[in-house]
């Protein structure tokens, strides 16, 4: 199968964040960047689908400045066949603008399946994948926690509040990937060597107008320091008393 996976470069989610002097962004100094978590699951899902079917092509896309070439190379070291950078100076937080640029490029790609992360770590928005599907007129499963492709047909599971939905869909299709579908592999040394020779094409993006911008970024208020009230079952009466009188939840 011919599968496209769109990946975003985002800071490592374990980082401690500081706000940049502008007050409208995080301070990127010293942060490690990687493929965004859910898109990483999507790359793995694509590789597994093509490995199982014993063929096909996995192509990874990233929109952004030249620093997106690093996660694209990483995806190729995991096993993707080639990569495309859609060049922009910055990556807007406007998901529809990004979706338009990706859709314009993916339209003529002849893909059976186009995968995205459920949401990117930085935007935490969950817009781009489903919007691309709608722009291309393709069926879309948003936030699939299970995915299988067989005989030209897809089945997936989606978590709902207190329930889950099992769905079927024809190909070509778009799926945005939740955790649970696949955990990304680590690139092997052989994979890393091979990725250096794989094609990475770079071309300008056809970004739509940017209508969403960050006006301010703040760190959430710190929680007061934690407190240990006691040890073992002997501490239970004190806990219950605090839940009743202080926290007032009982």
């Amino acid at each position: 199968m011919k599968i496209a996976v769109c990946i975003k470069r985002t800071p490592d989610s374990e980082s401690r964040f500081r706000i940049a002097a502008s007050g409208a962004a995080i301070d990127e100094a010293g942060l490690k960047f990687d493929i965004d978590d859910f898109a990483g699951y999507a790359v793995e899902a694509a590789l597994q689908i093509n490995e199982k079917s014993g063929g096909g092509e996995t192509v990874v896309y990233a929109l952004g400045p030249d620093n997106v070439q690093e996660p694209l190379r990483k995806a190729m070291s995991m096993g993707a066949d080639r990569a495309v950078q859609l060049r922009t100076d910055t990556v807007p937080v406007d998901g529809i603008a990004v979706a338009k640029a990706l859709a314009a490029e993916l339209k003529s790609g002849g893909y059976d399946l186009i995968l995205f992360g459920k949401h990117a770590f930085d935007t935490s928005a969950g817009v781009v994948g489903t919007a691309v599907a709608e722009l291309l007129g393709l069926p879309c499963v948003t936030a699939a926690s299970q995915l299988s492709i067989e005989n030209g047909k897809g089945t997936a599971r989606r978590e709902l509040e207190g329930a889950a939905e099992l769905v079927e869909f024809p190909l070509p299709a778009v799926v945005t990937i939740d955790e649970g579908v696949a955990r990304p592999r680590y690139p092997s040394l052989k994979g890393i060597m091979a990725a250096k020779k794989k094609p990475l094409e770079s071309k300008p993006a056809q970004l739509g107008p940017v209508r969403v911008t960050v006006a301010k970024a703040e760190l959430p208020p710190e929680r007061p320091a934690g407190r240990i009230i006691g040890e073992g079952a002997a501490a239970v009466p004190e806990l219950v008393r605090l839940l009743q009188t202080e926290a007032k939840v009982l």
Binding site: E14, I96, V127, A133, S145, T155, A164, R211, R227
Partner: protein, 328 residues
Amino acid sequence: MANVLAFAETRGGELRKVAFEAVTAARKLADASGGGEVHVLLAGEPGIGGKAEQLGRYGADVVFVAESADFAKFARESLAATLADRAKAGGYRAVVLGFSAQGRDLGPRVAARLDAPIASDVSDFTVNGDSITVKHPAYANKVITSLTITGSPVVITVRPSAFTAAEAPKSARVETVQATPASGPTVTVTEVKEGAKGRPDLGEAPIIISGGRGLKAKENFKLVEDLADAFGNAAVGATRAVTDDGWRPHSDQIGQTGRQVSPQLYVAVGISGAIQHLAGMRTSRTIVAINKDKEAPIFKVADYGIVGDAAEIVPALTAAVKEARKGH
């Protein structure tokens, strides 16, 4: 003055809590834009129109009812097309949905169809002339951003529980509209698996009892279930270590790559407090931690920590909570 359109989410023929929250947020947005009307699209299975009056109680001026048998199975392409068509016909300032499983799917579709900008998971907003500024937790809740959105209409999905549904009674005018059928290939629902009955959803529960690997075995989640039962209105959550091992379904996972929750009370049992777990629950009002390792990072965020063996402490707590709640 500008009108705002809200989407009334339903499941199983009933309005969901986020439907009223979307109407409340739309009311707030219409008032802030100079006092326009709130219109609501109530799209659901045949008979759903009977729920229109309930929406009036929360401030809807007009309820547009679109009934279709396909909507019983979340015909997402047709729902999005129906909502987008209504939005086009009404010339609204904004379309408001809940940031729920349905809204996460429909919001981006509607925005793409309208070529409108979208802001997701919005916890608050202000209107300043031609732009709307929204509060949106980004970086898995680690950074709170204020986003400025220009253009009209805009699509906004609101964070569940951020806008408390407030009654503002109106006798809503009800109009029937046609459902727009899907124009291309579609996703078909083959089955809906209902989760554990009688427990609130994690996103809505005032109390959450969560278990981690410290519970040692799948069967021991019974301790967590029993404590949740003792509280009466509690949901049960889990860490990724536990969902990875298949002790609990992925839908129970709390954290950066799971659900993000802010209950009144969060009880963490046998959970170390990894940063990815904290990302999903650190905004809870009160946090209780039970862990045998007094150095566990969960104690840094716990208002009340007890050091010790969960197998001993949790049953004692369950008994004490039952005792305290006698008569409830």
